[in-house]
């Protein structure tokens, strides 16, 4: 088979699997698991084959036009370069792991078949986004991901949190998608094509008339999908979905799509200095803000969610300094360790029966209950904190190194201001990342108090996947920074000495300070009893998690927050803690800016419809109603009345006819 055929099969197989799963899920539930895992696995194998054949060489391009569509043609096009090939491998890997993990995690879930089918569809859409060479086809995958995230985040739709979160995820990403769509049209109008290769060609020849406008419009969609400030608020709330879905959304699909999109069209963004600066500011605000917020969260998954936003900030930061190699490098390594973090968090939540760090910090021996999760999560957290030699170190240093390059003036692609912004924010975030990673580890695994409940061993499917993902988290970075430049643009990804020392230094500082704080505050833990556990700890992990999420707000007063004096984050953040816990009140801002005006508008429309439009309608009905009533009264049933009317009419007509005939 040619590379093109293989590449076409990569998104097609999960799609067919999703279709079959949706159709057969109810009639043949026994097929649900094979139909979920096998197409994804096969597509991973094919993606790996495609990557091996492409091998970092010249991009594979293929296109076919199904039907003429008017001025700007829409083609089914493939554009597989090194970025696409490797991203597809990561997507396939994470999706396969998630599917295998889900078989154990949602073991007893009655809606497993539709869930698995939607995950397959999600994967297929992401693979389509990765491989396609036509922006309209990309948009199809982009929007399919949006609707899949809606369904999957709302998987536990019995809980109000999940319903609200799914709606929020959908609406916020759509808020970005509208400018994105307009931007795509503007871009196609300028370039005369939706094909990425042609657009990049047009950019190279200066054929784009409004690069800044288009880039900013596209950035809105990217911010929505990749959860960048100010459209990131859906991501922490999306934790109301099942943990494997969070892993999928955060590691490989959806949020990666935005970064990947910018990476693909980076020359277009480079054409506008303003867009690059905006991108840099966006990245800086996103990473520092999310890192601060992560330090204040109580829900273990929300901590990870904010960390995802922060790591995405690194990627956009790398893009803002015009190095997509570093961005995609970080995307790949982040995909591995973030999937691992989420899946391990799922295991921990299942074992502890709660998603609250405050409650976990009052349990001892939790790490003995879940040794696999303990060790793999330690690896993943070290990777997240960018401690050498874990993979996160290399990818993050690549980003910081590039920023340093820009600052020192070694490149003309990006403004120096962007470099400074990214570098400083990146270093600050490195400090904070290490701090919240340490906090998470300490609170989850070094708790003191009553012994954690023992529910027996976790399912094999769940623990095996953790170890599979631990390997790339551990070793991918050190192995890849030498190989990847051949696949990417050829920029050097080797860590530079300055940033390495600086980054590792601040990370260590962050970790040590957090540890010291924890030593100080942990004494309070015994004094303030806190915590609630799921009602059915013996159920499958999905049920336990759903109950944990649903009970968090009633038990602690908020979805994200717990009044825990033993939390080191509280001491570290000081007065900032209260604001950070609620995401710096951005939800309130949105409520004031969008929700309330929309509601007011809706009530006005409702008033207009009910009182104004309906009045006209009712008014129009009055005359026919009166006429009808009059005619009703005429229907007396008395034959003589009818005949009288008939004859009177006849006489009138006859007289009229005579008068006309005689000419009177």
């Amino acid at each position: 088979m040619t590379t093109t055929t293989l590449a076409v099969l990569v998104p097609l197989l999960p799609f067919l699997g999703a279709l079959a799963g949706l159709l057969l899920g109810r009639t043949a539930p026994g097929f649900a698991r094979p139909l979920a895992v096998l197409p994804t696995l096969a597509s991973l194998a094919l993606a790996a084959t495609v990557a091996a054949r492409q091998g970092g060489g010249p991009p594979v391009d293929a296109a076919t036009e199904l039907t003429p569509t008017g001025s700007v043609p829409i083609e089914l096009a493939l554009h597989i370069d090194g970025f696409a090939a490797l991203t597809a491998v990561v997507v396939g890997t994470v999706a396969t792991c998630v599917q295998i993990y889900s078989t154990g995690y949602l073991r007893d879930d009655p809606r497993y078949s539709s869930y698995a089918a939607l995950v397959s569809l999600f994967t297929s859409a992401m693979l389509l986004v990765v491989y396609t060479g036509d922006l309209m086809v990309l948009l199809v995958g982009w929007e399919v991901m949006g609707i899949c995230s809606y369904f999957l985040v709302g998987h536990y739709w019995e809980t109000p949190e999940a319903r609200a979160a799914s709606l929020k995820a959908f609406l916020v990403t759509k808020l970005g998608d509208v400018p994105f769509l307009i931007g795509l049209f503007a871009l196609a109008a300028d370039a005369g094509s939706f094909r990425i290769t042609r657009i990049l060609g047009a950019v190279a020849h200066g054929g784009i008339d409004h690069p800044t406008l288009i880039a900013l419009l596209l950035l809105a969609g990217v911010a929505g999908k990749s959860a960048q400030f100010p459209l990131h608020t859906w991501l922490p709330d999306a934790m109301a979905g099942p943990t494997p879905v969070s892993a999928l959304i955060h590691a490989a699909t959806m949020v990666a799509a935005g970064v990947y999109f910018v990476a693909r069209l980076l020359p277009l963004f480079e054409a506008s200095q303003a867009a690059m600066t905006v991108l840099a500011v966006m990245a800086a605000v996103t990473m520092t803000g999310s890192a601060l917020a992560a330090l204040a969260q109580d829900d273990i998954k929300r901590v990870l969610a904010y960390s995802t936003i922060g790591q995405l900030g690194y990627m956009t930061g790398a893009l803002a300094v015009a190095d997509r190699g570093a961005a995609v490098f970080h995307l790949l390594s982040h995909g591995a360790f973030k999937a691992l973090l989420f899946l391990a968090a799922g295991v921990i939540i299942h074992a502890a029966g709660t998603n609250s760090l405050a409650a976990m910090s009052r349990m001892s021996h939790l790490r003995d209950r879940v040794p696999d999760a303990y060790w793999t999560m330690t690896v993943a957290l070290l990777a997240l904190a960018a401690i050498p030699p874990f993979s996160g170190f290399f990818s993050k240093e690549a980003v910081l190194g590039v920023a340093e390059h820009v600052v020192t003036g070694h490149t003309e692609h990006a403004p120096a201001a962007a470099g400074w912004i990214v570098l400083l924010a990146g270093l600050l975030t490195a400090l904070l990342t290490a701090a919240y990673a340490t906090r998470l580890w300490l609170l989850a695994f070094r708790g003191r108090g009553t012994e954690a409940p023992d529910h027996g061993r976790q399912p094999l499917t769940m623990t095996t996947v953790l170890w599979v993902l631990a390997v790339p988290s551990l070793a991918f970075g050190g192995f890849a920074f030498r190989v990847l430049p051949d696949w990417f643009d050829g920029h050097d990804l080797t860590p530079t000495l300055t940033t390495s020392v600086l980054g590792t230094g601040v990370a260590l500082v962050g970790g040590i300070v957090t540890y010291a704080t924890w030593r100080h505050t942990t004494a309070h833990a015994a004094r303030v009893p806190l915590g609630a556990v799921a009602a059915h700890p013996e159920g499958d992990a999905g049920q336990v998690e759903a109950e944990a999420i649903a009970s968090h707000a009633p038990a602690y007063g908020d979805v994200a927050y717990a009044a825990d004096p033993s939390d080191p984050g509280r001491l570290l953040l000081g007065r900032l803690h209260r604001h950070a816990a609620v995401g710096f009140h951005l939800d309130a801002v949105y409520s004031a800016l969008f929700v309330r005006p929309v509601r007011a508008g809706a009530s006005i429309v409702r008033f207009l419809d009910r009182e104004v439009v309906d009045t006209y309608v009712r008014g129009a009905g009055i005359l026919p109603r009166w006429l009808g009533a009059a005619v009703r009264r005429a229907q007396t049933g008395n034959l003589q009345t009818y005949v009288s009317a008939l004859l009177a009419g006849t006489v009138v007509l006859a007289v009229a006819a005579v008068l006309v005939a005689t000419g009177a």
């Binding site: 049933g637 008395n638 003589q640 009288s644």
Partner: protein
């Protein structure tokens, strides 16, 4: 003789019958009025036949033949009409035309007491009758 005499007489007789059909309550009286109208037509037929048989040398005597036919049809009509009136009277207990209001708006076809419904309608005649019987 002037043709105007029988023609005017026929017109007046016809209108008298017309009045009877529209104003009489008893169905048999209505039938009588119908007979009056038919006879007015007959008079016209005969008179015009008498005129045309001379003025246009009509040898068919179509007017008189038609008048005969009309008389026969009228006989048949009165027979059928009376049979219908009798059937209605048997079923409804009345032969008053303005009580047969099954086609009135708001009339319930399932109501077995359709007479009462007809009577309950705000017809002025019903009020008159109630006064008279009281």
């Amino acid at each position: 003789m002037h043709l105007a005499y029988p023609a005017v007489l026929a017109a007046l007789l016809f209108c008298t019958g017309l009045y009877g059909v529209l104003a009489r309550r008893n169905a048999i009286l209505v039938l009588m009025s119908v007979e009056l109208m038919l006879n007015a037509v007959n008079l016209n037929l005969v008179a015009f036949d008498a005129w045309l048989s001379r003025a246009a040398e009509d040898t068919l005597h179509s007017g008189q033949a038609l008048a005969l036919f009309t008389i026969a049809v009228a006989a048949a009509e009165i027979g059928i009409g009376l049979a219908i009136v009798l059937a209605v009277y048997r079923n409804r207990g009345t032969s008053d035309i303005d009580r047969l209001r099954d086609t009135a708006e708001g009339h319930d076809p399932d109501d077995p007491d359709s007479d009462a419904t007809g009577r309950a309608l705000p017809a002025p005649a019903a009020g008159e009758k109630a006064e008279a019987t009281a």
